[in-house]
């Protein structure tokens, strides 16, 4: 187990290193030097030279990459060229907003999707099961940013039940929750479908297993069998799914943040892309990639921990 853990963490680290190197190389393959792209055509030669110097752009590429990793080890991701603040500070200011949004979206999806899946599995082939099946596929299919736009149109602009812009006043929790409702709804809708389907399938599988039959033979009430014995096992694949799904959750969060003009890491990247603010793009893509690798690795570990067959194959 320890060996597997080390192997998996090592792989995660290697992936992050390759990803950063790729990004770095790509930035340098762009025609024109980054300094003049950032400063624009009207910058003087001295300004360009000063910026190149400050960003370490004059060094050869491998030296730059190595020094980037060196700085990274002490949490330094460079300076934002416009505001002259550390990239690390800027990124970690925005990250909590995104995490709260993802957390809220996933929470409501779990609270609705898991019971729906359970119900469908226990009442297999009932009309509600069929309705849930079709609705799940549809919810998965509809792009989350269209859900965001339509809920903005209906609930914020037409009905005016919820605010359309921002994350609410700092310190005013009710206001913040009020602002969170629509983006979290848009983020979670597809996941309700995913979870309902997955829980249904794994529940059906578990309910047919021997230990459930034994529990039945002992005359345990159905309620106890379902909730204490079956669901406990059937819920496990959802953990893996959520771990692997962090990538698509982050992608949806980008759109939700832009549509509802919320602060967050997606909005940050989007804004820096428009201004070609490479250090910020680099920093936020790096942080999200690390987050993604951590989540998928965790999911794999949980999976391996639960399933000896996976453990053995690695």
């Amino acid at each position: 187990m320890t060996l597997y853990l080390l192997k998996r963490l090592g792989l995660g680290a290697v992936i992050v290193v390759i990803a950063v190197t790729l990004l770095y190389t790509m930035i340098h393959m762009v025609p024109g030097d980054p300094a003049s792209v950032i400063l624009g055509p009207r910058a003087s030669a001295e300004m360009r030279a000063a910026l190149s110097e400050r960003m370490g752009l004059d060094d050869p590429l491998p030296v730059q990459i190595v020094s980037f990793f060196g700085d990274l080890l002490v949490g330094d991701m460079g300076m934002d060229v416009f505001s002259n603040r550390p990239v690390t500070t800027i990124v970690f200011e925005q990250l909590p907003y995104t995490l709260v949004l993802i957390g809220a979206g996933v929470s409501w999806a779990v609270l609705l999707g898991v019971p729906l899946g359970c119900y469908s599995a226990l009442h297999r082939a009932s009309w509600l099961d069929k309705v849930v099946a079709v609705l799940s596929v549809s919810a998965i299919a509809v792009p989350s940013f269209v859900v965001a736009l339509y809920s903005l149109l209906v609930f914020a602009v037409a009905l005016q039940w919820f605010p359309a812009v921002g994350a609410g006043d700092r310190g005013d929790l009710t206001d913040q929750i009020h602002h969170l409702v629509l983006p979290a709804f848009a983020l979670g809708l597809g996941w309700v479908g995913y979870l309902a389907r997955l829980v249904r399938a794994s529940m059906l599988e578990v309910m047919g297993e021997n230990h459930i039959r034994t529990a039945r033979a002992f005359g345990l009430p159905e309620r106890v069998i379902v909730f204490r014995y079956a669901l406990r096992i059937a819920i496990l694949p959802t953990i893996t799914l959520l771990g692997v799904g962090i990538g698509s959750l982050l992608s949806s969060a980008v759109f939700a943040e832009i549509v509802f003009a919320r602060p967050g890491i997606g909005k940050l990247i989007f804004d820096s892309v428009s201004t070609r603010n490479y250090p910020i793009v680099m920093g936020s893509v790096l942080v999200t990639t690390v987050l993604f690798v951590i989540c998928t690795t965790l999911a794999d570990l949980v999976n391996a921990f639960l399933d000896p067959r996976v453990r053995a194959s690695l």
Binding site: I18, I27, P143, V146, L149, V254, F270, V281
Partner: protein
Amino acid sequence: MRVLGLFWRNLRRVLREPLGLVGFTLALLLVLSALFADVMATHDPIGLSVMDRLQDPSAEHWLGTDQLGRDLYSRVLYGGQVALQVALIAVGAALAIGLVLGMLAGFGPPWLDNALMLLFDTLRSFPTVMFALAVVTLIGPSMGTVILVVVLTSIPTYGRLARTQTQSLKHAEFILAERAMGAGMGRILTVHILPNVVGPLLILASMDIPVVITIEAGLSFLGLGVRPPTPSWGSILNDGYSFVRNSPWPLIAGGLPLILTTIAFTFLGETLRDVFDPRIARER
């Protein structure tokens, strides 16, 4: 002729499922409306008419007009062309590259397998939109960029599937027999493994089409995809978003075809999988 008969029989199997029928009909309508956009459009999709800006639907403009007075119905039709074009090119390229790399990984020596798997894992480790944003920063927005992003991020999925399929066939008796008769790696891969690997990949591809269409629309919505004035469902949504307090119609017109298309291809893909993949069929 035999192939055509087989196709027809399988199509009937798909159409017998209600979801398959709905999906197939919607997808067919979409393809036809994109193919015949020139005939079906009532207006020039990029013709401005500032006098008619942000109108509600009428006999003249069936879905209303946007902030520049362009006819939304015609724009939606041509937007379908863009969506399908991007989806077909990107999915085709990703499938082809993933297939080749995956078969090499599955059949080749272990070092090649490990290297390719590491490549797949790395490509997969960027969240798609983040990756797209980074690439767009570097090479600028265009339809080509969208296709490149989609191809790069979907290669791993196809590659992994092709690898697994190849590995499971590698030691099959008919392959061993071929080897014993002296067939080379090239012949085994192209003549014997390829036909057995390509099926599941095609099903995956049909389920990937809505995903790609969504990415194209999403990037164009962010202003990072297809360049204006070319109509794309995403850029129609972008216009609608900017003028959401003036008129709901651009948002409705841009979103509905997107929703219908993704639902159509998802239903179709699900049915294809159920019908052709006996391992997971019927259990749902």
